[in-house]
Amino acid sequence: MGSVILQQTINALTVGSIYALIALGYTMVYGVLRLINFAHSELFTAGAFIGLGLAGALGVSGHPFAGVLVGVITFVIVGLIGVSVEIVAYRPLRGTSRLAPMLSALGMAVVIQNAVMLIAGRRPLIYPSFLPNGVVEIFGAIVTYKQITIFAVAVILMVGLELFVNRTNLGVRIRAVAENAETASLVGINPNTAISLIFFIGPGLGAVAGILYSSFYGVASFTMGFVIGMKAFTAAILGGIGSIPGAVLGGFLLGAIETFATAWMPVLTGGLIGTEYRDIFAFSVLVLILLFRPAGLLGEHVSEETMVYKSDF
């Protein structure tokens, strides 16, 4: 019994790491621009495929350092794509209305998804494992090295982001612009620099998540971003959208809710609610959280001023 729970905790941490990494991208963009970046989930997919292409081009799959190298290059490439998407599709719409950039993001999501499809093909591809193989048994629970690596990579990236945002000069700029872009520009911070930086880091993290996710499941398809993106977005809201620690907490929490609910609901309800309701748990939690604590678990109270669309419509 104990080992079963431990096993599920480990599974939850693996899924949660991936959700958290993607959720960071949603939450950072939302925190600064109040924009739901629908293109983010497609950048996650793009990351997985670019990683795959790089591994093929460099001919390096298998070696542990190769994985790191592929991850870093993919981070940079997808980060640059993210920056260009913002400059092309969102920046011209800043200040027009709240809906326009959101729908522009949607258009970009369609563009990126289909670009991936045209380059990589419609059929799901078998994904090489960049992660070490092997298992270790801890108190009766079987943990694969893949799971350990995913968790470790996620934690390293999150700690890195936390240090970057809180301890560096550029991080201060990001926080200042997130707090209030106008005031930040009064003290000489160029909001565009900070926003570009966010659109570099967020998609970069999402791309790494894409590589981890595809390596874990061994397959990548051009449509895989949508559902994962929705879940990660749910995680971001769960933790309090706009809050970086919130996204991490939300990611792990959602991973746990999903894993445990999927495992235990059929048992508790006598098979009435089966594992096929997996996706419902995520959205039900989302609806409940929003009804009782709209700002999320760690989110600060957002003033009505920024929440209401008002003249935007």
């Binding site: 949607l106 970009m108 045209l118 959205f283 609806v287 709209p294 929440m307």
Partner: protein, 338 residues
């Protein structure tokens, strides 16, 4: 709408201008007549496309009440559409061997969607802005997952096939041309309905809620009730659209009711112009026609569609037809009134 407690006293009244703007009315009537005449000459496939345009225009008009007039972003509109579609699929097919007449299911479907709208509205309408958008999104997904999994009721992912042919007062609806007549009729009703809302006390209350909710409440507008009415009427139009969709396809499956569908309907009204009934029609025309015209590019179709969407939004972020240029404006211009 009850006489006892008005939402808001009418500030502007156009009761003085009693003459009917005949020219404006004629121009408005010309459009459906032109569509029907065009329908006589079109082959089957383009007729189907025309039917889809009209259907999306109806859905757009429905969603416009909530998004365009009340200023509440609803990303789960497809749920109401799905409820309507499944009403026809379940009440007029071999699934449970129930075969109700079309007009009755049209009412039931719209009614059920309306009830769902109220049930969703009661808890969520105290949320504002993005949070409301996200909850409605979650609701839409929950409805879709339910339809995917309640195998006993909805037949799961396989969907429900062999749905009855629709009959309306002895008239069989089978060809795309038959549905063109039905859809034109429904579009006219929906159009007039939405246009009337715009000029009514409810419309005034809705725009007050949109512009400033707190000030609206200060004026004595029962904002929760106004929003509920908007949610309910919009859901009813969505439900009716769903019934027609199911009757037209004679097959429904959860595939047709994804989040993407909700987004297309939002796009219809944003591209066309929020809060403008003409906008919904123009938006539906563009959003259905563009992918059809891109069919020749096969695999590149959706890529080009995405690029077209981004370009349209970049060039006209507030939509092609602004709010002020609605049917009332047309009437004023052509009727020679004020």
């Amino acid at each position: 709408m009850s006489a006892k407690k008005p939402w808001c006293t009418r500030v502007t009244s156009d009761a003085k201008t009693t003459h009917i703007p005949w020219l404006g009315a004629a121009v408005l009537l010309l459009l459906p007549v032109a569509v029907l005449i065009l329908g006589q000459f079109l082959p089957t496939y383009p007729l189907r496309v025309l039917d889809m345009i009209l259907l999306y225009a109806i859905l757009g008009l429905g969603l416009n009440i909530v998004v365009g007039y009340a200023g509440l972003l609803d990303l789960g509109f497809v749920a109401f559409y799905a409820i309507g579609a499944y009403s026809w699929a379940l009440l007029a097919s071999g699934q449970f061997d129930i075969h109700l007449p079309f007009w009755l299911v049209l009412i039931i479907g719209a009614g059920l969607a309306g009830i769902a709208g109220i049930l969703l509205g009661i808890p969520v309408l105290r949320l504002r802005g993005d949070y409301l958008a996200i909850v409605t999104l979650g609701f839409g997904e929950i409805i879709r997952v339910l339809m995917n999994n309640l195998d006993g009721l909805t037949n799961g992912p396989q969907g429900i096939a062999r749905i009855d042919e629709a009959h309306l007062f002895g008239w069989t609806l089978s060809t795309p041309l038959d549905f063109l007549y039905l859809l034109v009729g429904l579009l006219i009703i929906a159009f007039l309905f939405v246009w009337r809302i715009e000029g009514s006390a409810l419309g005034t209350a809705l725009s007050a809620v949109r512009e400033d909710q707190d000030a609206a409440r200060g004026c004595g507008i029962d904002t929760t009730r106004v929003k509920l009415v908007a949610f309910c009427t919009s859901a009813m139009i969505g439900g009716a659209g769903g019934v027609v969709f199911a009757a037209m396809q004679r097959f429904v499956s959860p595939e047709s009711f994804t989040f993407w569908e909700s987004l297309v309907i939002v796009l219809v009204i944003v591209v066309g112009g929020l809060g403008n009934p003409f906008g919904a029609i123009l938006g539906a025309t563009l959003l259905i026609l563009i992918p059809e015209m891109l069919r020749a590019w096969a695999d590149y179709r959706l890529l080009l569609y995405g690029i077209a969407l981004v370009l349209i939004i970049l060039s006209r972020p507030r939509g092609l037809l602004p709010r002020a240029y609605g049917p009332s404006w047309l009437m004023r211009r052509l009727g020679g009134g004020r």
